[in-house]
Amino acid sequence: MSASGYLREAPRRYRLEGAACKGCGAIHFPPRAVCDRCGGRDFEARELSGEGELLAYTIIRHPPKGFEGQAPYAIGIVQLKEGVRVLAQITDCDPAELREGAKVEAVMRRIREDGGFIEYGYKFRPA
């Protein structure tokens, strides 16, 4: 990962900055160029609450390159209270005790070190 490519996404990664469509009010994360509900192209930045519910999860036992030291770790789909769905690691948990439907909250954590710098991003932890 390049430094420029990393920092470009930082507002999303550090504080879940999404976008609200000015046309229909749909919330998107990540922000989109075109609203897939109404086709609108005007948005305003909207920081998401980070509060949500775990819809599905799995435990990664054979991680991709760059994540080797972290396995086993949990990955889950979280439905945020704004209705947006995001995919992220579930941290600060015993993966064996995770359950669908669990309440979770977003935190900023270290994701990996790939380009010689530390890459941070959102994860979720049991609330």
Binding site: R15, G69, Q70, A74, V107, M108, R110, I111, I118, Y120
Partner: protein
Amino acid sequence: MLRANVPIGIEGFGAYLPKHRIRLRDLPLAQGAVPQDFEKAICGPDEDAITMAKEAVERALRMAGVGKAGIGAILCGTTSNPYSGKPIGSVLSKALGIEGPILAADINFSGKSCSEAFLLCAGLVGSGMASRAIAAGSDSIPWGPWNEGAIYSSCGAAAFVLGRDGGSSIASLEGSSTWVMDALDTWALRGSAQRRNSGRFAERAMVQCVTSSVEALLRELGLGPGDFDHVILPQSDPRSASGLAKRLGFKPEQMEAGLVLPKLGNVEALSGMLGLVAVLDVAKPSERILVATFGNGAGSDSFSLLVKDAIEERERGDFLNQLSRKGYVDYAGYSRLLLGVSVSRA
């Protein structure tokens, strides 16, 4: 005494503790040398001084409820920034959405790093250079061969939002004092993992710095040891706080609420300042708090706070909740966490 032109108040505070704990008796070199029921915190493999600082600052800002406007500085006391040559405040400014015309620096003075950030922020607000400033402190346990020696060394973060003292502040800064001197008490050469200690001589620096700073503060404020409801003294080990208290005339019951060492160990950069968070979590209006910190090398900061009525309106108790929300690791798990490796058994 350091004096401000305008009155300064704490508008919000917050702390963050990682969930992992180890009982000191489970550290092999600790057998017999430390109180067996003490425990300390350790970061998860995806945490560091930056992630912990972010959580603490968010909590402090949430309590302050003042939004992000007017923040002129974000100073972070730390001895374990994962970067060298890049301040924690730069990442925090992005994470908090306050990039721009603010001062951001790491403050490093071992055990008084966070209190020094606090006084510098007070200086910025007190001089009128900033209408609001965030003083944070965050430390992880630096990994190294000497770490076994730093038996109480722990992880955590704290943050304080400082502003002009007014209706919304929860405590007023009554006055502050500091003392610095050249000492070789505990140190390490740059690039060396070996921490050195001058034994009995080391204690003298702490006693001299802390007593000088606290006595000057009391003198300036015209207060005596009995005027404080809560007293937080340096607590890098079980003996230092009680020894200093005896010397300065403080009673054990004044120290009780702010003594976090047994439950949390010593988070170096914010030693004492986490004690302040613990006190603020339970303090009542009109109570007076004395904080004195100590940094190796050596120096001491002290200040007095007067708790205000507004504190009752804030949601508190988060720090105490975090103290009890925890999971224990054994020595193998502790070693894995020091190396940044997962302890998951799934």
